[in-house]
């Protein structure tokens, strides 16, 4: 496995794991987003499982970039707060996907392009506006 490809896939996987943890947490904290959060969590869970099947190395070293204590300190007390945090997370996933796009080819690149679109549409779903170059720094 290409080292760069592997490291970028692991970075994406770490963010998907964070999302799998974040959305149920947000849905539990703010009932107004519970349904959307449940849907988002299911989508990220599918992506996480797909990535796990791609990453052959020992993934036990991959950790969510937020631990429980850090997430708990985020002020997720309103729909707006959840939306802001969700858009931030989806934007970081976009960046991770674009890194995979650059470091891979074939099916992996196709998966990353699809992941970039999924995260971009998720950003819009959380009250985001369209951006010219999702995944790239402005």
């Amino acid at each position: 496995m290409n080292g760069m490809r592997n490291s970028t896939l692991l970075a994406w996987l770490a963010l998907e794991r964070e999302a799998v943890w974040f959305y149920p947490f947000a849905g539990a904290r703010v009932s107004g987003v519970a349904d959307d959060a449940r849907t988002a969590a299911a989508s990220h869970r599918r992506t996480r499982d797909r990535l796990l099947s791609l990453v052959k190395d020992d993934t036990t070293t991959v950790r969510p970039s937020y631990d429980v204590g850090t997430l708990d300190s985020v002020d997720l007390d309103s729909i707006d707060a959840v939306s802001i945090a969700a858009r931030d997370l989806e934007q970081r996933i976009q960046s991770a996907c674009l890194a995979v796009v650059a470091s891979s080819d074939g099916d992996d690149r196709g998966d990353a392009i699809a992941g970039l679109r999924t995260a971009s549409l998720a950003e819009i779903a959380w009250s985001g506006e369209a951006r010219a170059f999702p995944g790239m720094r402005d």
């Binding site: 196709g110 971009s120 951006r131 720094r137």
Partner: protein, 146 residues
């Protein structure tokens, strides 16, 4: 890793500018020597296929912008299309087959850019086309929701 759009635009613009200058310099068969004489390492000639993909992106963007101006497209969608237009020089022109309503057209062009990203050779261009595709998918969703 966060990719810098500015870095690409400089790099992509460089590719296109070099391509523009390549014609004149290659004609004299002195390209590499000329570049080295002014302290610049020769830049690899851009892949012709990549230039065609960039030209198609520019033509589709122009067509979407024309469509947006005749509809009540959300301001952020217009801004996205304008920034896409700035990213691809006008010297690269092709014909566009964009049609249908705005949301469908944005989605169709997003699909085309995603497919082009898989076909491109330059990694810079691959990333920009993939990112453009994602931005156009966002535009489609915004127009559909408006």
């Amino acid at each position: 890793m966060v990719v810098s759009r500015r870095a690409f635009l400089v790099g992509g613009g460089g590719v296109v500018l070099v391509a523009g200058g390549v014609g004149a310099l290659v004609a004299t068969d002195r390209l590499d020597d000329t570049l080295r004489a002014v302290g610049v390492e020769p830049h690899p000639e851009p892949d012709p296929g990549d230039l065609r993909l960039a030209a198609r992106a520019r033509a589709d963007t122009d067509a979407l912008l024309a469509m947006a101006s005749s509809t009540d497209a959300p301001p952020d969608v217009v801004a996205v299309l304008q920034r896409h237009r700035e990213a691809v020089p006008a010297s690269l022109m092709d014909t566009s087959a964009v049609s249908g309503d705005m949301a469908d057209a944005c989605l169709a062009v997003a699909d085309a850019r995603a497919a082009d990203a898989l076909a491109a050779v330059s990694v810079d261009l691959v990333q920009v086309l993939a990112s453009m595709a994602a931005g156009l998918a966002q535009c489609s969703a915004r127009v559909a929701a408006a």
